[in-house]
Amino acid sequence: MSTEAIFNLAEALGRVDEDEDLLYTLAELFVEQAPLDMAAARAALEAGDAAALARAAHRMKGALLQFSAPRVLAGISQLEALGKAGTLDQATTVCAHVDQELQTLITALREYAAKRPAV
């Protein structure tokens, strides 16, 4: 899968006023942070804690907005909505899907961050 399909680099750069160095830093930070948030979402789901699931999804949503990654954003928004509604039976499937999409995004962002010129 190409980088452009999972996140829109041009849009993401536009959001940071073409500050590529900042976008590299944001990508590195996301690659570290997102697995922790996803783990928190999975743990909440396993514990049947709908509110905690909604909180974890909400937190990821804020970070995802920085990368113009519409597919992962749609999935995570759905997960947040299910958590808020307390309908955890559907959330398991959505969570697995989001997890998969997220891994793709993390891989893409890791590849992007690796292009950062050495200082």
């Binding site: 940071v16 006023d17 900042l22 930070l29 996301f30 909180r55 804020g62």
Partner: protein
Amino acid sequence: MNPEISSTQPATHVSHAPATILLVDDEPVSRLSMAARLKRMGLRVLEAGNGKEGLEILRRERPDLTILDWVMPEMDGPTVCELVRRDPAILSSQLILMTSHDQPEQIAEGLARGADDFLSKAASKQEILARVQSGLRTASLLQSIESARDQLRAKQEQMEDELLSAAGYMHSLLPRAGEVAPGIHMSWTYRPSLALGGDLFNCSRWDDRSIMFYILDASGHGVSPALRAASFATFLRAENLRHFVTANDPAAILAEANRHYPLTEEGYYFTVWIGSFDRTTHQLRYATAGHGGAVIQRRNGTIEWLTHAHLPLGFEPESTYELKTTQIEDGDRVILMSDGVYEAPAATGEVWGTERLAATLGALRSTALSDVLPAMMAEAERWHGASIFPDDAALLGLEFRI
């Protein structure tokens, strides 16, 4: 640097120092992105990772604007807003709530809980810039208002201190109650309508044979009448009057005073009543310029008003004043008063009046003079329904044991 940002940024803040923004967000990616954007706008950015920490920094650093994430551990954004609005030291802080919520009811809740504005996490850079500038503009205006308010308070305190100091001086011009001359006891009570009153009175020995006493009322309220009253009281000192008159003659003193104190350009004037008591003949001689508040209460309780119609001072330069006399007997009391006492209005507007005053005085005939005057003031207060009268209220009493 983006020219749009650099050209508009200076207008957002009055001082030359960059405005300070506190950014409170637990999510590091979006916080870093927003912080970078704000720094590019030329702003100083402080960061906090949760509401509790943000509130501490807000109290300590007093940023010009605070941007708060809605959902945060420890303390969420709306709770921070509520706590800020309850704290008098920081309640005027400008607060923008930021979230990926964008439903109208959530925006309404954020505003109701104390936020000044709302910013979506998906907002464009143009919208972020516009909202931050709007918040800083409001913060700058509020700071100007608070600064002006603080200056006004400081000036007000300074003026009140000066007024108290002036009131202290006015108080020093009033006589000491007690025995003025053998067998003549004096008492008084005074309630200015403001810190500084325009009524003054005194009672002093003219020479070994006679005493002089008076009450004056400068028209108007506040500093100017008080200053004019102080000037007139200085004029009425015996050692000064001897430069102008040869005898303790109230009518001659009033004629001289009339020349010295013409009507002011603003139309202010004095009313005054002056009495002279001869300790050998026991004769009271008196004259008045428009002052109606003087009464003698005989030992048997009979009340006679020691007044007659005459213009106040200053209306006609060559005015002369009628000298009246009455004989004082042992046990008689003379009470001088300003019109603020008997013209004290009830809630209906009806004044207390000289008849009610005389009846009160009659009821107090067997009471000690030093208790009579406060009791009369209390009765006027009861009629008025409040402790502060609309006009200065003064009572001076003399009791003759001769």
